[in-house]
């Protein structure tokens, strides 16, 4: 992204003009930075207070054995002091390789990776397919588009309840399957089908965003490229492969990154679809929530440690992803 560099010298009215000397330039530079810092100050303050401070505190909590029984709390008018202790990195060790760590962490970790990969792939492929179809001159294109955006327009917490009714035992989906003499899985009880249902619902929710973004990308591809490709005798597949896909690179890399982050952190779908009833279908985010707030006693320290681990995973992924994109750009963009 090319961004213009500020070349103005921030002069006031009435100052002598002409080429500024080194001192003036220094002063101007100082002035310019002063403006910039003044302008970003509000966000820096807000982030410091609302993000950095809690983050540091959360990290400290992960080094303790805090839970709802030993944290500071108020019962009626009595203040109870916090009594949790510092235990160092034990929480992390316990999560990653303590007893039953497979059931508590690694199984959810694997499922989270599978879930993210599956959902983002489905989002992207279906979204791209629909975008390509909508990019043709078809009758009723606008209407299709309006309808297909619906899952994005309606708040997730509303649509998930719609899905819950449909997936419930005796709901419309199983009734339909029964009519067709197909097996009727217990969508909301059996682990495999829970996971299947979660991916299905999340795919349904996430496709419109990809579709609309990619459609925007398709419409911004220069048509003369297609004409040139045709002149050179490229087949439809070749045009798709060598004109459409490279033309979508920028949009794709952005929406895929956003999609991965959002899917990895997708809380509402799984939480609302199953509540606390599906320990096996919980991804790391919802599982961390369950540890910290869904059980008694609430295990604050472990929950916070999960949060820090999740953040670490995402930061590593994003860094690698960006590096990979940048490396790619130095080669031929195909």
């Amino acid at each position: 992204m090319t961004v213009a560099i500020d070349r103005a010298t921030g002069k006031r009215r009435g100052e002598p003009s002409g080429r500024p000397g080194p001192l003036t330039r220094l002063k101007n530079g100082y002035q310019r930075y002063w403006y910039a810092y003044a302008m970003i100050a509000p966000v820096v303050v807000v982030l410091g207070v609302l993000v950095v401070y809690p983050l540091v505190r959360g990290f400290y909590l992960t080094l303790t054995n805090a839970n709802s029984l030993n944290s500071a709390r108020r019962i009626g008018v009595n203040e109870i002091e916090a009594t949790y202790e510092f235990i160092g990195l034990d929480n992390y060790a316990d999560i990653l390789w303590g007893p039953t760590s497979y059931d508590r962490f690694w199984s959810h970790f694997i499922w989270t990776i599978v879930w993210t990969a599956l959902c983002v792939t489905l989002h992207y492929v279906i979204g791209l397919g629909l975008a390509l179809l909508l990019n043709q001159k078809l009758h009723g294109r606008t209407l299709y588009r309006l309808i297909l955006v619906l899952p994005w327009a309606v708040p997730t917490f509303v649509t998930v309840f719609g899905w819950r009714f449909m997936l419930a035992d005796g709901g419309i989906i199983n009734a339909g399957l029964e009519t067709l003499h197909l097996p009727t899985p217990l969508w909301l009880e059996d682990t495999f089908w829970q996971r299947f249902a979660a991916v299905m619902v999340n795919t349904w929710c996430g496709v419109p965003f990809m579709m609309v973004s990619l459609l925007g990308g398709l419409q911004s591809i220069d048509t003369s490229l297609y004409e040139a490709a045709e002149m050179d005798g490229a087949s439809a597949w070749q045009r798709f492969r060598y004109v459409t896909l490279p033309g979508l690179r920028t949009v794709s890399s952005t929406v895929v990154l956003l999609g991965v982050i959002w899917t990895f952190n997708q809380f509402a779908v799984i939480f609302l679809l199953f509540g606390d009833t599906a320990p096996e279908a919980q991804i790391l985010v919802t599982w961390a929530y369950y540890l910290g707030f869904g059980q008694q006693p609430r295990d604050f320290a472990q929950s916070a440690a999960y949060g820090i681990l999740l953040l670490a995973i995402l930061i590593v992924f994003t860094s690698v992803y960006r590096r990979w994109l940048n490396r790619d750009e130095q080669q031929l963009a195909i």
């Binding site: 403006y35 609302l50 500071a72 492929v125 619906l150 708040p155 309840f161 045709e230 005798g233």
Partner: protein, 309 residues
Amino acid sequence: MSTTSTSTVETTAPAGRRTTADPGPAAPRRQRRRGEVGFAGAFVSHAILTGASLAALFPIAWLVYLSLGPDKDDYLHPERIFGKMTFDNYTFVLQKTSFFDWLISTLVVSLGTTIIGVLIAATTGYAVSRMRFPGYRKFMWVLLVTQMFPVAVLMVPMYEILSELQLIDSYLGLILVYCSTAVPYCAWLLKGYFDTIPFEIDEAGRVDGLTPFGTFARLILPLAKPGLAVAAFYSFITAFGEVAFASTFMLSDTKYTFAVGLQSFVSEHDAQRNLMAATAVLVAIPVSAFFYVVQKNLVAGLTAGGTKG
């Protein structure tokens, strides 16, 4: 994906007898105009799009349909609803539940987040769009990383901090929590939008003797209204639909946001699904209508920023 070939197929058959999917090397003869589709291609496209539209529409239509059934078990035998459709659920929800309390809470929290988010983020978006200062890249990186924060990272410490400040179960507490996401997000979004405004406008302003603040306030802000609207809408929607924090931090049922209130139909009222469906429909209609108005700008804003800081 096999169907996509129809989208760019140029049939080379003589006019009048069109066949599709003949991706041989196209001889340079009469070019059909881009985007025109042969008959079979159009048929296949319509079939797929109709199927996809039905899939997109059905769960929502189903929710609307169920909301018309008067009994809480009607979702199990939907065919019976048809004969006894009624708006009773709606009148019940509006008159006998906390619907309006939830509406007020949701609006207070969402609008509070929106106003704070956009106000604070506007100058920052402008600064990172127009100026380079020491620490710029680090700052952009921080803005990006804060968008990756999973719910779980801030939830526990936020709960502790808000407990100490006695802000649990208060609107202000929830607004503060939401601002932790909304502010960096708005800054990011607005930066992308400011980038699309030509730099010459700033220069013209400076030549006429405006300070950077003056340029921003008098020239750029008026031009950036659509961008501000998108950022505002996005903050609003995010706060509106947030589930995790709202479920944990709001304890009294008059302060529930809709996202929490809907859940309470399942737990407290022994699964009154009919009322839940009616409430869901009432919530969804205005939000969705609103969404359609700004939808086009929303996408442009989300992807314009790009991933490169």
